[in-house]
């Protein structure tokens, strides 16, 4: 018998008396008796917090891949970045955690201004003028971009590079069953998208990842020209940490930028909640999915913030809305704003550079090992794909025994019919963040040498 109810028994009795009822059950008297759950729920009765904590401690201990016991070289869209105490302390303030969508701006300036700052940061990272208040994750941001493109062009054919994260492509395919979009996945050749001989006419969007999911930094000129010639929107799925050193999506001519913002202030979290980044050109602002905060003034002329362009949204437009998004990931957006405030101009570039330096060091050491080679010959930033003599899943399992999570096996990531890489079972995707040290990399190399032999 544990709960968080304030009422005493006598207060309950008094309230029921006020309503002319004799028991709590009477509150449900108008529900047909046949529908009432007669025997109660099947689960066990409630337990105290310390008792439940013991169960959860057991769950935690059963996760061999937790940070306390394993060094993380896995990436594939989820990265082990530094989340300092100051970011954790500020983003866990209950004023941010226990509020809801800022429907009443007079008492929600804290969240509204934090979102405004977040939108500014995403705009600057993407090189595009408009950013929304966040979406669920990178995959959902991609889906919203496709819907935006279809709405803007009145077309439904979508060209997606197979270098876009396999899970994001899978999500896009799932939702295309409802929207009727025709999704064409453009194959990779030696790690880069093969745009040649592709007919982009009548396409709504051309989508490319920068870097792609194998870590390769692809040339964006070809897909941009393809999109331009066809009158399609050019959508770039970008790594926001990479943006610290790479040209921005806007600079490459993107109409829409989507990305996964987990790297900024959100722990790995077994995949969620993460943060869907979304930015676009001014031309597309009326089709923007989700919420957007704008600056204005109050009755006394004081600077204020408020959710705006509300006429696009589902609660007003209903079946004609540009998106069904209501709740998004505001807390993660606030955490990202705090984390980027902590990183600052030089810090963002620094973590991007450290990732790149670490990744190249590790790559150069690993490809010396017999049985380990580069999976492609392309330039990369902070993540790379290796082809191994042994199945990657076995190598991961063996190295995990020594406390190193070696990466992600490609066959665990791609759908069975994926054609982005040949024989994915022998391909290992390895990522390096600013948190990985030379010592950890040396150990990685030593273990790989042992297990691949």
């Amino acid at each position: 018998m544990a709960d968080y109810l304030p009422h005493t028994e006598s207060e309950v009795a008094e309230m029921l008396d006020f309503l002319g009822l004799s028991s709590l059950d009477d509150l449900f008297a108008h529900i047909p008796p046949a529908l009432r759950l007669a025997g109660g729920l099947g689960m066990s009765v409630g337990a105290s917090e310390p008792d439940v904590a013991a169960i959860f401690a057991r769950y935690g201990e059963a996760n061999a891949a937790r940070a306390a016991t394993m060094t993380c070289f896995a990436g594939a869209g989820a990265y082990d970045h530094e989340v300092p105490n100051v970011v954790r302390a500020l983003s866990s303030r209950s004023e941010f955690v226990t509020a809801y969508t800022p429907y009443q701006p007079e008492v929600a300036q804290g969240v509204l201004q934090a979102i405004f700052e977040y939108q500014t940061l995403v705009s600057r990272l993407s090189g595009l003028p408009i950013a929304n208040a966040s979406l669920y994750d990178g995959a959902s941001a991609l889906v919203e971009a496709l819907n935006m493109a279809a709405g803007a062009t009145k077309r439904s054919r979508i060209l997606v590079s197979s270098g876009v994260h396999p899970h994001w492509r899978a999500v896009a395919r799932t939702f295309a069953a409802g929207t009727g979009h025709e999704i064409i996945e453009v194959p990779l050749r030696d790690g880069v998208t093969d745009w040649a001989a592709l007919d982009a006419a009548s396409a709504a969007a051309v989508v490319v990842a920068y870097p792609n999911y194998l870590g390769v930094v692809e040339d964006l000129g070809a897909p941009r020209e393809l999109a331009r010639a066809a009158g399609a929107l050019f959508v770039v799925a970008g790594d926001p940490v990479g943006a610290g050193v790479l040209r921005s999506a806007g600079d490459w001519g993107a109409d829409v930028f989507v990305g996964e913002g987990q790297a900024f202030g959100t722990p790995l979290s077994f995949g969620g909640p993460y943060l869907g980044l979304f930015a676009c050109t001014l031309e597309q602002v009326r089709r923007l999915p989700g919420r957007i905060v704008g600056e204005t003034v109050d009755l006394n002329g004081r600077r204020s913030f408020v959710t705006t362009l509300r006429a696009r949204e589902q609660d007003i437009r209903r079946e004609k809305a540009t998106s069904n998004v209501c709740t998004n990931q505001t807390l993660m957006a606030v955490a990202a704003a705090i984390q980027l405030g902590w990183l600052g101009t030089s810090g963002l570039a620094e973590i991007a550079r450290r990732g790149a330096v670490g990744a190249h060091h590790l790559f150069e050491e690993l490809v010396q090992i017999p049985g380990v080679s580069a999976a492609n010959s392309q330039p990369f930033l902070r993540e790379f794909a290796l082809r191994l003599r042994r199945p990657a899943a076995e190598v991961i399992a063996d190295m995990a025994g020594s406390g190193v999570l070696a990466g992600v096996a490609l066959d665990a990531l791609v759908e069975p019919d994926d054609e982005s890489v040949e024989d994915p079972s022998r391909v290992l995707l390895v990522a390096v963040t600013e948190r990985r040290t030379r010592e950890e990399m040396d150990r990685y190399v030593e273990l790989m040498r042992k297990v691949v032999a």
Partner: protein, 504 residues
């Protein structure tokens, strides 16, 4: 009944501090300042040009804010002082279930043994997480009376769309082409928006004078081209659809499916199960019923549970119990595919499971009972102040109307809501559901005390008395909040959504 009716306790009513305008982080920035501290990697710097061609490298850095750690803490702490929250005071925002979020659940989600695990780690290295997900799925099925569930959808609206795609896959598997989905006129806006994205047309059915689905109108709208109906029960007026069995029979009769929008599950959790009402697909908002915090507008989680005949279509991969007692990822036989980049909002799911485990089979029904008790007490207490839109027992929320107050004094529902902010309470939901004139939707939730409800009632009495005296004063309320009413038209007309917009 007066406040003397409840001895002791302190009514939650907490005016906000934070009246000073706070500069943005960019305005606080001083070039050269920095807060960042990183690990020593032991690797020498190398130029990026060694790795990438010049066409890929930016010429100038992305300009962010440059702050000391102390600047950063001051800035976001001052912003937090300009923000109302459940922890500060009562938040009776109807339809959003803004109940107290136990700190224990935050601690669970903050445990590095859960939150440091990479989502791409093999199942063998993340057994604890898989077991946790399986346990949650089993309990959500218990609560809803369903056979299986997906935990992937990241929010209620994502759950709705997932449910509609399941509906589509089910009909398609029977080579049954259907075109329409029925929605009552009281539905949340996400319902029709999701229907469109699910590739269906919306048919709206009216509510009757009792605030319930008009069964005759529903029967007239049904036909062999109807894929299903989306219902919230209790509905958005806070009333239980008493004819749900007849509705279910009529929809099933034409081969349609029943979709349960779990927005209002808090009213019936542990008391009535959607599966027993005849529903085929159910989404739950874990951030509502199961108290995972709303985060200023997310993250939520919107798992979808289904009856046995739909289980094979669920998104995958799903965590499952293997024959040897370990846990593995499994893809349902005819899965519609992924609806999330990984496994769903895992830390939100962990919080919800902790909440469910603490409450258990005995505690969850008490949640519903006390939520319904509080809403009915408030409705009854305010009878002479602001009448209910439908004069009969409600469930977890009471939809009141300022219609007669407006006719009498000129004060609108919005004015009442704004004046309530000055009283230290969050406003109710206003102008929803659309079918109620001057709607004020109060959802006190089960975690507010009778003292707080009485204080809320007295605040509303003062506001209504003020309206009768001089309604004009209310039109400019609130007066004591960090900002007064904001110019929403200007925000939309001259869009300034980033610090840099003014420069364009």
């Amino acid at each position: 009944m007066t406040s003397e009716g409840f001895a002791g306790g302190r009514a939650a009513s907490a005016p906000l501090m934070g009246h000073e305008t706070e500069p943005t982080m960019f305005e606080l920035s001083v070039p050269g300042r920095s807060a960042v501290q990183l690990r020593t990697t032991g690797l020498a710097e190398r130029p990026m040009s060694e790795f990438l061609g010049p066409e890929h490298l930016r010429d100038t850095p992305v300009v962010l804010a440059n702050l000391s750690e102390r600047d950063l803490v001051g800035h976001f702490t001052r912003l937090s002082a300009r923000q109302f929250s459940v922890d500060l005071g009562a938040y009776p925002l109807g339809s959003c279930t803004m109940k107290y979020n136990p700190k224990f659940c935050d601690a669970v989600a903050g445990d590095p043994a859960l939150n440091s695990v990479h989502p791409g780690a093999p199942a063998a290295l993340s057994q604890g997480w898989l077991e946790l997900l399986v346990s949650l799925e089993e309990k959500l099925c218990d609560i809803t009376g369903m056979a299986a569930a997906t935990l992937q959808p990241a929010a209620g609206a994502a759950g709705e769309l997932t449910g509609l795609l399941l509906m589509r896959a089910y009909h398609a598997s029977r080579s049954d082409v259907r075109r329409r989905v029925i929605i009552p006129d009281s539905a949340h806006g996400t319902n029709p928006a999701s229907v469109t994205l699910g590739g269906y047309e919306v048919t709206t059915v009216p509510s009757n004078e009792r605030g319930l689905v008009d069964l005759d109108a529903l029967r007239a709208a049904l036909g062999p081209d109807v894929a299903g109906i989306m219902l919230t029960n209790p509905n958005t007026v806070g009333l239980f659809e008493e004819e749900i069995e007849e509705i279910a029979a009529a929809v099933h009769e034409v081969g349609g499916l029943l979709y349960y929008d779990g927005a209002n599950l808090n009213a019936i959790v542990g008391v009535v199960r959607p599966g027993d009402m005849g529903f085929d697909i159910v989404h739950m908002n874990l951030h509502k019923t199961f108290a995972t915090p709303h985060g200023g507008g997310g993250p939520g989680a919107g798992p979808v549970a289904v009856s046995a005949r739909l289980a094979d279509f669920l998104p995958g991969p799903k965590a499952a119990r293997a024959a040897d007692g370990t846990f593995e990822w499994r893809r349902p036989a005819r899965s519609i595919g992924r609806v999330h980049g990984w496994h769903g909002n895992a830390l939100v799911l962990a919080r919800a499971l902790a909440y469910i485990d603490v409450h258990g089979a005995d505690g969850l029904p008490r949640v519903a009972q006390h939520a319904v008790l509080n809403a009915n007490w408030l409705r009854q207490r305010l009878r002479e102040v602001l009448p209910a839109a439908y004069d009969r027992p409600c469930m977890h929320e009471a939809v009141l109307t300022a219609s007669s107050l407006k006719a009498e004094t000129g004060a609108r529902g919005l004015d009442v809501a704004k004046a309530l902010l000055d009283e230290g309470f969050h406003a109710p939901t206003v102008y929803f559901p659309l079918i109620v004139d001057e709607a004020l939707m109060f959802e006190p939730t089960e975690t507010e005390s009778p003292q707080t409800l009485e204080a809320l009632a007295q605040a509303l009495e003062r506001i209504v008395a003020q309206a009768r005296q001089d309604a004009q004063i209310l039109q400019h309320a609130p007066y004591h909040t960090p900002v007064s009413r904001v110019d929403e038209a200007r925000a939309a007309r001259q869009l300034v959504s980033t610090e840099d917009a003014a420069l364009r």
